[in-house]
């Protein structure tokens, strides 16, 4: 099901790899949540505070944001804000406590989008 409240070619993704932008478009036009994985991986890489860690590193869904990727609480907050802004969802602080790995982040974003599917955009 297409997500009518999401914009085409959002500015937040302008600098992202083409496969991440294509994946976003696929999700936006078809509602295919499987496409989100590429968007989330691109964002995780983009918000890694210590860029040197990300060079050439293959990201896996079991990787922990803080322990494995050098995330701190500010980077987590930035990532959350990015998804809030991109997908027009609201994420509470308490919800974040459950997200520790890339895979958990992916599942969390999918869950929030499902919750948000029938709500008006903010």
């Amino acid at each position: 099901m297409p997500l009518a409240n999401l914009p085409a070619s959002p500015s937040q993704l302008a600098r992202y790899p083409v496969e991440a932008r294509d994946a976003y478009e696929r999700f936006r036009t078809t509602g295919d949540v499987n496409a989100l994985s590429l968007v989330i991986l691109a964002a995780v890489r983009d918000f890694m505070p210590k860029r040197s860690l990300g060079v050439g590193m293959e990201l896996r869904s079991d990787m922990k944001l803080m322990e494995d990727l050098g995330y701190d609480s500010l980077a987590v907050a930035e990532t959350v804000f990015f998804f809030e802004d991109l997908f027009k969802v609201r994420i509470q602080n308490t919800e974040l406590m459950t997200v520790r790995t890339i895979g958990e982040l992916e599942q969390f974003v999918i869950k929030k989008l499902a919750e948000n599917a029938n709500k008006p955009a903010v």
Binding site: K50, R51, A75, E78, F81
Partner: protein, 428 residues
């Protein structure tokens, strides 16, 4: 030297320049000597009707976007994402100027990191551009979300927050907000902290960004020159001057206690021999017409340094090229110096750089220190017809091939804050 100093003296041992007239010491020095300005055509908000046509632009940086991801800076500076994410555009300038100043002082980042004797004093007005962007988002979503870096990247302490965290400063960290006197306040209080024995070293940082949000509010005050020819736009002390020209950048001074600097064999630019401040108590924006506060600030700086007026051989004037401000400063200078039978060389380097607001005091102290060590005195290259009110001042057009031995550096800010430093050539 003030009695509280316990004999401690303060030296400038490192400089870093990101300025409209150059992003390294050699280029800055060459342009000061040649009288070559760094003003360039600008157009803000895509609107040619905006009455601001030139500015002291910073070259080789791109920080126009509200997203740090889109900024660029010279590749010789290593600015990691974890630092960049909380920064304002002028923070990028400051970061590069600090790296440059530390290298110039013969220091490595590890020498100042986690050192309880090293402090960081910053002058910044914050980032109006990022503040506007953050608040516009807040209103658009009715407060339901916002950029987590919005506060630390935009409020007036943004320089101290970010630079202290990156460089791991543990001695003392603070910020100064007195508009165009901010950086001069930072130098003055840094000097006192060292003289009081509380710190051995202070990194003094002044920085300012140049964009519509920072500069155009001054056009609303009718404080900016509408000229498109740089030589006509910024011409301090000229009878035809019609406002200041904005500028951006960052300058960093490494100040160190003299014996501490000597122990590590530091190279010295000059001594900060004393400073003084006094306020006008007159207007929110305009100088006192006779420069009353500035006169007192000069007197206090000279007294603190133990220097008679006739020992000053160069004054780096605040001289922003506004009709009211330059006249008031000229009267203050004549009152202090002419009455004492002294006639120092006076110039305003803002003719070359424009006026970088919070950065001004640090930038001009850096220029003075450079001139003292390298042996030249900046001139007033855009001066054609000297204003009658400034006629008694010694205002050379061209730079002089000799350096001053004792310098007065003036700064004045909104609300009538006046801050002056006396720098002396250092001879062991």
């Amino acid at each position: 030297m003030s009695s509280f100093s316990g004999g401690r003296r303060v030296l400038i041992t490192g400089l870093g320049f990101i300025t409209p007239i150059g992003n390294d010491r050699a280029t800055v020095s060459a342009n000061l000597r040649a009288g070559k300005h760094g003003l360039a055509p600008v157009q803000f908000l895509g609107n040619p009707q905006v009455p601001v046509r030139v500015a002291g632009t910073v070259k080789d940086f791109s920080v126009e976007s509200t997203s740090p991801r889109e900024w660029s800076w010279p590749s010789c500076y290593d600015l990691p994402r974890e630092t960049l994410r909380g920064m304002a555009p002028h923070g990028v300038y400051a970061f590069c100027a600090i790296q440059q100043a530390l290298a110039d002082a013969g220091l490595k980042p590890d020498d100042v990191a986690n050192d309880d004797q090293t402090g960081l004093f910053c002058a910044s007005a914050g980032s109006a551009m990022l503040m506007y962007n953050n608040l516009a988002l807040m209103h658009s979503v009715r407060g339901e979300r916002g950029n987590p870096m919005g506060v630390v990247s935009s409020i007036a302490g943004t320089l101290n927050f970010n630079l202290a965290a990156h460089f791991k400063i543990t001695g003392a960290v603070c910020g100064f907000v007195s508009a165009c006197a901010s950086a001069s306040h930072a130098i003055g209080y840094a000097c006192d902290e060292i003289r009081l024995g509380r710190l051995k070293r202070v990194l003094v940082v002044g920085a300012e960004e140049l964009n519509a949000e920072t500069l155009l509010p001054f056009a609303a005050m009718r404080a900016l020159s509408p000229q498109s020819d740089p030589k006509l736009a910024s011409r301090p002390f000229d009878a035809g001057r019609d406002g200041f020209v904005g500028g951006g950048g960052s300058v960093v001074l490494v100040l160190e206690e003299a014996s501490f600097a000597a122990e590590r064999g530091a190279s010295v630019y000059a001594e900060v021999a004393g400073w003084g401040q006094a306020a006008d108590g007159y207007s929110v924006a305009m100088s006192h017409p006779a420069g009353a506060g500035l006169q007192r600030a000069i007197g206090r700086a000279l007294a603190d340094a133990g220097v008679e007026p006739n020992k000053i051989d160069y004054v780096n004037a605040h001289g922003t090229s506004t009709p009211v401000g330059d006249r008031a400063e000229a009267i203050a200078l004549k009152t202090v110096f002419t009455a004492a039978g002294a006639r120092p060389v006076v110039s305003s380097t803002k003719g070359l750089t424009g006026h970088p607001l919070s950065l001004a005091g640090a930038m001009e102290a850096g220029f003075c220190a450079l001139a003292m060590r390298e042996g030249f005195t900046p001139g007033n290259p855009h001066l054609v017809n000297v204003d009658e009110a400034c006629a008694d001042l010694l205002l050379p057009r061209e730079s002089l091939a000799t350096g001053p031995s004792t310098v007065l550096n003036n700064s004045s800010g909104f609300g009538g804050s006046n801050v002056c430093h006396v720098l002396k050539r250092w001879a062991i």
